[in-house]
Symmetry: C2
Subunit: 504 residues, 2 copies
C-alpha cells in the first residue's frame, strides 16, 4: 500500500488502465493511417469502436465513481490532487454519454474519414455529406448530453481546451483578425519576396534523410519514437517511450516535409518530455491542445522559419536534398519560407494568414452547432467566409471545405486550438528570449539543447499538473493575449517586407 491509502492505489490502477486504452486506440489509428492494407478499413472501424466502448465502460464504471468520491483528499500530494481533479472531470463527463453514442461516434468517424479520403481528390462534397450530416447530429447530441450554458459549442471546445468559452475567445479572435488584416494590407502593398524553387524535383530519399537529421538534431528521441510517411502529417503517442510522427513528402516542394516534421517533432518532444514518474497517469498529458500546439508552432515557425535556423541548415539541406536547394543561402531560404500570400489551404498558409483560416472554421463550426447553418449549406458558407476573411475565391470543394479531415472524424471545437497555440508560442518565446539571451546564436549553430531544456522545465515535465492558463502564467508571467504574437509578426515581417507599423 502506498502512503496515499488503499483507495488511492485502487484508483491509480484504474487510471493507468484507462490510459492503456487511449494508447491502444492511438496505435489502431496510427496503423490505419500508415500501414494498414486498403481492404482492412471496415474491420478497423469496428476495432476502434470496440476499444472506445470498453474505454467508455471503464470510464463510467460506478465503482470508479464511488472510488473518486471516497478518496481522502487530505492525504494527497499536489500531483495526486491534480490527477484526482482530472479523473473526476473525465468520469463526470463520460457518465453523461451512453455507450451506444460512443460506438456511433467512433464508427461514424472511421467511416467519415474513409469517405473524406475519396471525396477530397474527387472534389465531391456529396460523397462526404451524408457522413458529415450524421456526425454533426451526433456532436450536437453529445454536446447537449455533456451540458452547457446555452452555447452548445462550449461543451465540445471544453474537451480540447478545458475551461475556454466561445464567448470569451470569439472577441479575442476578432481583435487578432483586425490586427492581422492591418499587417496583411501593409504586406500586400509591398514588393513580394522571391521564392527559390526552380521547378526541379527533389527525390524523396534525400528529403527523408534530411528530415531524419533535423528530427534527431532538435532532440526527438528516435529510440523512443519513429517517423513514417502518411497522407496527412500527424503525431501520436503510443507510450511515453513510443511517440510517432509522420510526414508527407512532396518532390516538387521539399519544404513541405521539412516544416511538417519540425511541427510534428514539436508535438512529439512534448510527449516524450512528461515526468516518467507519472507515465500512464492523467498527468502525462498536455493540459490542452492549445498548450500542445504552442510547442509545434514554436518549433515550426518561430525556430524553423527563423534566419538563424537557415544559417545552420541551408547548406545541409542543399547537400542532402539537392535540386533547388543547391547553393541557396540562408537569406534566400529565409525569404522563401516567409513569403506571405492569402491562399486556399490552411496547412500551406504562412504565419500571417494562418489564423484567418482557423477563424473561418471556428465561425462555421460554431454556426453548425447553433443550428444557424446546415451541412448542406456548408460549402457555400465556406466559400463566402474565405472571400470575406482572406479575399480568395475557392475554385472547388477539394481546395475548400474538403481540405481538412477533422470534421469527418468528429473533431469539432478543435480548430481554435491551432490559433491558441500560435498565441501561446509567442508568449513563451518572449520569455525564452529573456531567459536564454544566446538563443539566436544557439539556433544558428544547430544547438537546440538549451531551448529544449527550457521547454522541458517550464512546459513538458509538468504535464497536466496545472491547467493551461496556470501553466502559461507560470512559464510566461502572462495571461492569454495576442499581443506578443502580433509583436513577433511585425518584428519579423516588417523588415522582411520593408513595411512599418505595429498592432493597434
Amino acid at each position: 500500500m502506498s502512503e496515499f491509502g488503499p483507495e488511492w492505489d485502487a484508483l491509480e490502477l484504474r487510471l493507468r488502465e484507462l490510459a492503456e486504452f487511449r494508447r491502444i486506440a492511438a496505435l489502431l489509428a496510427w496503423d490505419q493511417h500508415t500501414t494498414m492494407p486498403r481492404r482492412g478499413s471496415d474491420a478497423r472501424a469496428r476495432a476502434i469502436a470496440t476499444i472506445r466502448v470498453v474505454q467508455h465502460e471503464r470510464q463510467t464504471d460506478p465503482a470508479l465513481g464511488d472510488l473518486l468520491q471516497r478518496i481522502d483528499t487530505g492525504r494527497l500530494d499536489r500531483p495526486r490532487a491534480a490527477m484526482l481533479r482530472i479523473a473526476r472531470r473525465d468520469h463526470d463527463r463520460a457518465i453523461r454519454l451512453p455507450a451506444d453514442l460512443i460506438r456511433r461516434l467512433a464508427f461514424t468517424a472511421s467511416r467519415g474519414e474513409a469517405a473524406w479520403e475519396l471525396a477530397r481528390p474527387a472534389r465531391d462534397f456529396g460523397i462526404l455529406q451524408p457522413f458529415l450530416t450524421e456526425m454533426v447530429a451526433l456532436k450536437r447530441e453529445q454536446a447537449d448530453l455533456m451540458g452547457h450554458d446555452g452555447e452548445r459549442y462550449d461543451a465540445l471546445l471544453d474537451v480540447f481546451e478545458p475551461g475556454l468559452r466561445a464567448a470569451y475567445v470569439a472577441p479575442l479572435f476578432e481583435l487578432l483578425a483586425a490586427d492581422l488584416r492591418r499587417l496583411l494590407d501593409a504586406i500586400a502593398a509591398a514588393a513580394p519576396l522571391p521564392g527559390i524553387l526552380n521547378g526541379r524535383l527533389h527525390p524523396a530519399p534525400g528529403q527523408w534523410r534530411f528530415t531524419m537529421r533535423v528530427l534527431a538534431d532538435l532532440g526527438f528521441d528516435l529510440d523512443a519514437g519513429r517517423q513514417d510517411r502518411s497522407a496527412h502529417p500527424f503525431s501520436t503517442t503510443i507510450a511515453l517511450r513510443d511517440v510517432r510522427v509522420t510526414t508527407r513528402v512532396d518532390e516538387a516542394d521539399p519544404f513541405s516535409a521539412v516544416f511538417s516534421i519540425i511541427h510534428e517533432a514539436g508535438h512529439g518532444m512534448y510527449d516524450q518530455g512528461f515526468d516518467p514518474a507519472f507515465e500512464d497517469t492523467p498527468l502525462a498529458e498536455a493540459p490542452s491542445l492549445g498548450a500542445h500546439e504552442s510547442q509545434s508552432r514554436l518549433w515550426e515557425n518561430i525556430v524553423g522559419r527563423s534566419l538563424p535556423f537557415w544559417e545552420h541548415y541551408a547548406p545541409v539541406m542543399g547537400e542532402l536534398v539537392g535540386g533547388s536547394l543547391v547553393g541557396a543561402g540562408a537569406q534566400d531560404v529565409f525569404r522563401h519560407v516567409n513569403r506571405v500570400t492569402p491562399s486556399l489551404i490552411r496547412v500551406e498558409a504562412d504565419e500571417v494568414t494562418y489564423n484567418l483560416h482557423v477563424l473561418v472554421r471556428f465561425e462555421l463550426e460554431r454556426a453548425l452547432m447553433r443550428e444557424e447553418l446546415s451541412v448542406a449549406e456548408l460549402p457555400e458558407a465556406w466559400n463566402d467566409a474565405y472571400m470575406r476573411r482572406l479575399g480568395v475565391r475557392v475554385p472547388h470543394d477539394g481546395d475548400g471545405v474538403l481540405q481538412d479531415v477533422h470534421w469527418s472524424e468528429g473533431l469539432f471545437g478543435y480548430f481554435p486550438t491551432y490559433a491558441l497555440g500560435n498565441l501561446y508560442s509567442a508568449m513563451l518565446w518572449r520569455r525564452i528570449s529573456t531567459d536564454l539571451p544566446d538563443i539566436g546564436a544557439d539556433v544558428g549553430a544547430g544547438r537546440f539543447e538549451p531551448l529544449l531544456g527550457w521547454l522541458r522545465d517550464h512546459v513538458h515535465t509538468p504535464g497536466y499538473l496545472y491547467n493551461t492558463g496556470e501553466l502559461m502564467l507560470r512559464a510566461t508571467g502572462s495571461e492569454l493575449t495576442h499581443e506578443p504574437f502580433m509583436d513577433y509578426l511585425w518584428e519579423k515581417f516588417g523588415p522582411l517586407y520593408g513595411v512599418s507599423g505595429a498592432r493597434a
Copy 2:
C-alpha cells in the same frame, strides 16, 4: 432479430466482440515485432496484458455463460451449432483461469520475449532463465487449472491442437522418427548434393522485389494484407482483409527470405480464405495450428521445393536477385534447396530432419510439464537430445536452446503442431495429385489458381466448421498418419540422392 432467435443474436454480438479483442492483440504484437521503437517495449507489455485481461473478462462474463446455456440449439443451422460448440469450450476453459494469471502470463510473455532478444545474440541462457522459470511455473499452474487426466501437457496441447493427447501422438512421432532415421542414414551414405551459393551478396531490394512477386503470384491478396521485415518471420491476422506476413532478408542466403515468405504466404492465404459470412466469428479460424501449418508446409516444401516450381522461378530469381542465382537452372536450384544435412537450427532444417528438431522440443517441454526436468537443466538436456536425435553437437546456447522464441512467449504444446502440419500437408497433397492431375504442369507454368482453389474449397472456406480430424478426413479420406509424408520424402529424395528403400 435473426431466424435463430434473440438469444443467438445477443450471443453472436458477444462472439464478434471477442474476435475484435484477439485482432487488437494481434496488431499490438505485429507492431511490436516490426515497427515499435526500442524503448517502447515495457509499455507494450502492459498494453498487451491489458487487452488480454479485458478479453478474459468478457470471455468469462457470467452473462455469456448464461446465454451459452439458454440458446435453443434446435433452431441453429450447422455453422451456428459449430460456433456454439466452440464458444462453450472457450468459455468453459476461460472460467477456470483467474484474471490475475492471465495478466501474469501476458506480462511474463512480453518480458520473456524481450529477454530472449538479448539472450540469443549474447548466447547467454542466464539472461532468459529467470523469465523462463517464471513462465514454466505459470504454464504448469495454467494446465492444472484447465484440467487434465494426469498428463499436464495435454491441457496445453489442447489449446493449439484440440482433442490431441500426448499419449496418442508420442508413439506416432517415434514411428516417424524411426522412418526418418532410415531415410537419413541412406542419404548420409550417398554423395552430397551440390549447392549453388558462391559467396556473393544478394542485395536486399532485389530479394524484396522477388518475394513480393512470389507473394502476388501464389495468390496472397496484397490489398488485404502486407509484407514487412522482422527478425523472426511470422504471419498474423488483424482482420479477414488485413492479413500480414513478415520475412527476414539474409544477403548471404537469398533462399532464406524466399522460403520464409512462401511459408508465411501459406498461412496468410488460409486466413484470407475464410467464408466472409463468418468474419469475426469463431468459424473464421483454423480448427488447429496443425491444420494451419499444413498450409504453410504444403506451399513452402511440397510446392516451393519442387522441380516444377523452380522451372518457373529460377530465371525470374536470377534476374531479380542476381548474385549466385545468375544462370542457375531449375535442376541446380532444386538440388540446392533439397540438400539434407542434420543441423543445429530448426528453421533452417531440411524436410527430412525438420521433424526431428520438433521431436526434441516435444519431449523436453513434456518433461518440463511433468517436472522431470527443470529450466536450469534445460540447456544440457537440449544438447543431449540433439546429439541423440540428430547426431550434432551444440556449440553454444545461441544455436541451441535459445534459438526459438516460443517458450519465452509461453508457447508450450505448440511445437508438435509443426510436425502435424507436415503430416497433414502430405495427406492433402496425395489427394490433390489425384484431383488435379495437371498440378505439376500448372506449378511449372506459375499457375497457382487451381491449387489455391482446391485448398479454398476443401480447407480454407470451412474455417472451424469441423474439427481438424473431420476436416482432414473430408479433404483426404484419411485419418492422421505419417505414411503419405514418408512416401512423399522417399519419392523425392530417393531419386535426388540415388538411394532406394521405403518406409518400413
